[in-house]
């Protein structure tokens, strides 16, 4: 190597040595990057959840609504005695931070609850209290899991538990529908008949 090339190489080495080992960005860019990446990833991973949840609730709600329509005549007399809102009201179903279940899911859920309100009112008092207490338990559980998802967004365990809890809630409502309206024993036009 010639002396000129040696000088040039030495200057380059010196310049490289003066460069910092790492460069901190002028501001913390990660939150903004994460905000763009995470929802896309999470949504992609959860894409199957919406159709599955919607299909489940629509199946249950569809069955219930058919039953409700068939029983509308006899239910109407009792329904008039109930508050307009019924006992079962639900907040929008969340799915972790910044996520909500599809509006059609919520609409079907509300409709199912409304259609069952009259029949739940006619359950034996003990069973009705147990049912309302347990539906509240399910709602508390889903709220708690949602809170945990705030800590651990995208956590697979929490997401599975939350989805199953929503399905459990629907399963309970569907069971009540079946127990109180889907058979002869539970169908009645007179609420006092259930006071046994």
């Amino acid at each position: 190597m010639t002396p000129g090339r040696l000088d040039s190489a030495q200057r380059l080495d010196d310049a490289l040595a003066r460069l910092p080992g790492s460069i901190e960005p002028a501001r913390d860019l990660w939150p903004a990057i994460e905000a763009q990446l995470e929802p896309r990833d999470v949504r992609a991973g959860r894409r199957w959840l919406w159709p599955a949840a919607a299909a489940a609730v629509l199946l249950v709600a569809g069955s219930s609504l058919i039953t409700a329509n068939l029983l509308r005549r006899e239910d109407s007399a009792v329904a008039r005695q109930l508050p307009a809102s019924g006992r079962l009201t639900y907040a929008a179903a969340a799915f972790g931070p910044g996520q909500t279940l599809d509006p059609t899911y919520d609409a079907a859920r509300q409709e199912l609850a409304r259609s069952l309100a009259a029949r739940i009112e006619r359950l034996p008092p003990d069973a009705r209290q147990q049912l309302e207490r347990n539906l509240a338990e399910l709602r508390r559980a889903s709220a708690e899991i949602n809170a945990a998802l705030e800590l651990r967004p995208g956590d697979a365990l929490l997401e599975e538990l939350l989805l199953n809890t929503y399905q459990d809630e629907l399963a309970v409502l569907a069971s009540v529908d079946q127990l109180t309206g889907g058979n002869g024993a539970g169908t009645t036009t007179d609420p006092t008949r259930m006071q046994l």
């Binding site: 034996p124 049912l131 338990e137 800590l151």
Partner: protein
């Protein structure tokens, strides 16, 4: 075809009554009116029972007949009993409007191969010896039955469920809201779902079990079959497995806030340095069984001691 119908004199005739030429009207039902009905039935037919309050006790006998005895409660409108082709129907009718109706006790004998469907509100249900399919439902009544090779489904809101197996493999599905469920000596597949009830499988040899609860405890005491698939999930209920005999299985346990206790040796590890959560995966023995347990707050315990 046999149709019997008890009715009070005050009952208004309805449009369908004249159409039933074989209808037999029996005098009014007074307090505690005895029930005594019997009809020929297909040995593998279906028996449907509906009784709002009181009790339903079902046993089997070696005859191709269905017999209904018991006592009709005060205030009940009547008992509908019919047997057409393969379907026998037993239904306690209540008046359209009445403030108080006493419970009716039904004692039913049927061929062992019959399938059985029972619906009640507060009446307890007990079935013994039925070998066909069973679908037993009650809002607040307790359900006791035996499971054989055919499918059994029990569903309640607050009633407790007890199912005794016969060692034959079948599908058992139990759903309660707050009622407890106890399943003993059942082989085959068990699916259980409860909100706050406790669910226990004792001395089972189940190949497939899936138990879920929100706040109720879940438990299994017994042998894990070589190819078993056991799946337990709870939000705040504890999950406890007391395993007997040699265990050959792959375990996968995870909990967000609960503790994991394992008597087989390996310890749970945290899933994150900064957030709650622990998990434990290990294999015990040579078996190919798989055990999967997940909770949010509930503790997990797996032992063979």
């Amino acid at each position: 075809m046999t149709i019997r119908f008890y009715a009070t004199p005050a009952t208004k005739p309805t449009a369908w009554l004249p159409a039933l030429a074989l209808l037999v009207m029996v005098p009014a039902a007074d307090a505690g009116t005895p029930i005594n009905e019997r009809a020929a039935a297909d040995p593998t037919g279906k028996v449907e029972v509906s009784n709002t309050a009181g009790s339903v006790v079902v046993t089997t006998w070696p005859r191709n007949e269905v017999e209904v005895t018991g006592s009709l409660g005060t205030g009940a409108e009547g008992l509908e009993f019919s047997s057409v082709d393969k379907l026998t129907r037993v239904k306690v009718n209540l008046p359209e409007r009445s403030s108080r109706v006493e419970g009716t006790s039904l004692i039913i004998k049927l061929p062992a191969g019959s399938s059985l469907a029972v619906n009640t509100v507060s009446a307890d249900v007990s079935a013994k010896g039925v070998r066909g399919q069973q679908r037993l439902q009650s809002v607040s009544g307790d359900i006791h039955t035996e499971a054989a090779a055919e499918d059994v489904e029990c569903k309640t809101v607050s009633g407790h469920v007890t199912v005794a197996g016969t060692g034959q493999r079948g599908l058992l599905t139990v759903t309660t809201v707050s009622g407890d469920a106890t399943v003993t000596s059942v082989a085959g597949e068990v699916n259980g779902n409860t909100v706050s009830g406790n669910f226990t499988i004792t001395m089972g040899d189940t190949s497939r079990s899936r138990l879920r609860s929100t706040s109720g405890d879940l438990g299994l005491k017994g042998h894990v079959a070589q190819d078993a698939r056991l799946d337990f999930e709870s939000i705040s209920g504890d999950v406890r497995l007391d395993l007997q005999g040699p265990v050959g299985a792959e375990f996968e346990m995870s909990s967000f806030n609960g503790q994991i206790r394992n008597c087989f040796g390996p310890k749970a590890t945290r899933t994150s340095e900064y957030a709650p959560g622990s998990e434990l995966r290990f294999r015990e023995g040579q078996g190919t069984a798989r055990v999967r347990i997940k909770t949010l707050n509930g503790d997990i315990s797996v032992c063979n001691k």
